[in-house]
């Protein structure tokens, strides 16, 4: 009797493990499937209601966290203010460049969205709980015109791109997700490279594959490159702000620069985002 019970347990365990591997093999990299669309269709409204109902409680918890954080940030801001004062002395010469710089970056919200794209506004309704994933679920989907690989922005800059879509929701792989790679350009020096994540730290991205003969510096801005060749083109339109270079150390032995970029968008605290649907890529 006991042996039979043990055998049955082992069989169930083996079945679950084999099932997990089979699901992983079948569904990895294939976007959404029928099961997910069905489950999502059933539970998305529940999630939306729960999201709305729990928002006051979330805000309360986040308020405590931000209050603690603000105490530490105050000292850092004092230091930044001192640096800003010093930089302001030489700012008169930079003023002339500033207009061109702003135009290039299209910092104002209306200008950040390229022509030909139809922005669809959505709200983040779920976020991956593990520390390894950097993706969120938003409450707009194929029913709103959202398609896989559509770029996603918020008021500050690039957030990521749609990686899977169901009728009423979509998964957005953030630019800090391990699967992300965005062709980017440093302005105004026009150095191109690829923005890749530093997995586990959404406040730090790495600008890779840049031309080793050109030097970039702290404080320069990074925007999407939006390249296009005869047959292929970038998923992201050009000139969407991505972030600011925070560190550009030179490794002499390797003759390359390790460039760290702080994203403009706060990827830990996303709420309202816009999916850029339609339009031509690049």
């Amino acid at each position: 009797m006991y042996r039979k019970q043990v055998r049955r347990r082992r069989a169930v365990l083996a079945l679950l493990i084999v099932g997990s591997f089979a699901l992983l093999t079948i569904t990895y990299g294939s976007g959404s499937n029928g099961v997910q669309r069905g489950v999502s269709a059933i539970f998305s409204p529940v999630q939306s209601v729960a999201d709305g109902a729990l928002k006051p409680a979330r805000d309360l918890v986040n308020w405590f966290d931000q209050t603690f954080d603000a105490r530490g940030r105050n000292e850092r801001l004092q230091e930044e203010l001192r640096e800003a004062r010093e930089e302001a002395i030489g700012a008169s010469a930079a003023l002339a460049e500033n207009a061109q710089f702003r135009k290039l970056l299209k910092l104002d919200r209306s200008g950040a969205i390229p022509s030909g794209y139809e922005p669809v506004t959505g709200r983040v309704i779920a976020r991956s709980p593990t520390v390894w994933f950097a993706d969120v679920t938003i409450d707009v989907g194929s029913g709103d015109g959202v398609e896989v690989n559509d770029p996603v922005v918020n008021g500050d800059g690039l957030v990521g791109k749609v990686s899977a879509v169901t009728g009423g929701s979509a998964q957005v792989a953030l630019i800090a997700d391990h699967s992300s790679a965005v062709t980017a350009r440093v302005v105004p020096v026009a150095v191109q490279g690829a923005i890749r994540p530093n997995v586990g730290d959404p406040g730090d991205l790495i600008l890779d594959f840049i031309d080793s003969t050109k030097r970039v510096h702290r404080g320069q801005y990074v925007v999407t490159a939006g390249w296009r060749s005869d047959e292929i083109e970038s998923w992201f339109p050009p000139n969407i702000p991505i972030g600011e270079i925070t560190d550009a150390s030179i490794f002499d032995q390797e003759a390359r620069q390790q460039v760290h970029v702080r994203p403009f968008a706060d990827l830990r605290d996303l709420d309202i985002v816009q999916v850029l649907t339609g339009g031509s890529r690049g």
């Binding site: 079948i26 569904t27 999630q47 390894w132 994933f133 586990g200």
Partner: protein
């Protein structure tokens, strides 16, 4: 654990409520810059209360539902969480520890292992990528959250599933012995 249709319905409701609450609340709040992940603790608590099969099946179900709702590749979450649930059940069946700290400690340890497991699954399937050292801090913080959260979850689940638990005896009011002839 004695599985009746009523208890099965309770387990399903617990799994569903746990996943919805995690995605809609806990994943969207930050404590010390880390969003707590209580799903491994939920699975570990179920494994501790119900044994290996309950732990493994509930872990698989939680992972499956999580991956479905997040539109992620299926299977990864199930694999990691069923392992956590199975190990918790194995602990219950093989180790005779009565300390009240056993449950929260196991929640913390298995949460850390589960987070590392999620990373292992992801990095095995992903292309070459850089990993920040900060992720270790985040993983350890998840362990701390799980210690405290796991305690509450374990006690709550023990109360919710009391009728099905084999080693939970109803407490009877003690009565003084009747002395004959007094």
């Amino acid at each position: 654990m004695i599985l009746t249709p009523k208890i099965f319905a309770r387990l399903a409701a617990i799994v569903l409520l746990g996943v919805i609450l995690q995605l809609s609340f806990f994943s969207q709040v930050a404590l010390f810059h880390v969003s707590p992940d209580f799903l491994p603790s939920l699975v570990v608590a179920l494994g501790l209360l119900g044994g290996t099969m309950t732990g493994a099946v509930s872990g698989f179900s939680v992972g499956f539902l999580l991956n479905c709702l997040l539109v992620q590749p299926l299977g990864g979450g199930s694999l990691v969480l069923l392992s956590a649930g199975y190990l918790a059940g194995l602990f219950r069946e093989r180790v005779d520890v009565r300390s009240p700290l056993a449950a929260p400690l196991l929640c913390a340890i298995l949460t850390v292992l589960a987070e590392l497991g999620f990373g292992a699954v992801e990095l095995t399937l992903a292309t070459d990528t850089t990993v920040s050292g900060l992720i270790l801090r985040d993983v350890l913080m998840q362990g701390v959250f799980a210690f405290f959260g796991g305690w509450v979850i374990y006690l709550g689940l023990r109360r919710a599933l009391r009728p099905a638990l084999v080693d939970e005896h109803p407490v009877r009011a003690s009565r003084p012995p009747t002395v004959l002839g007094a």
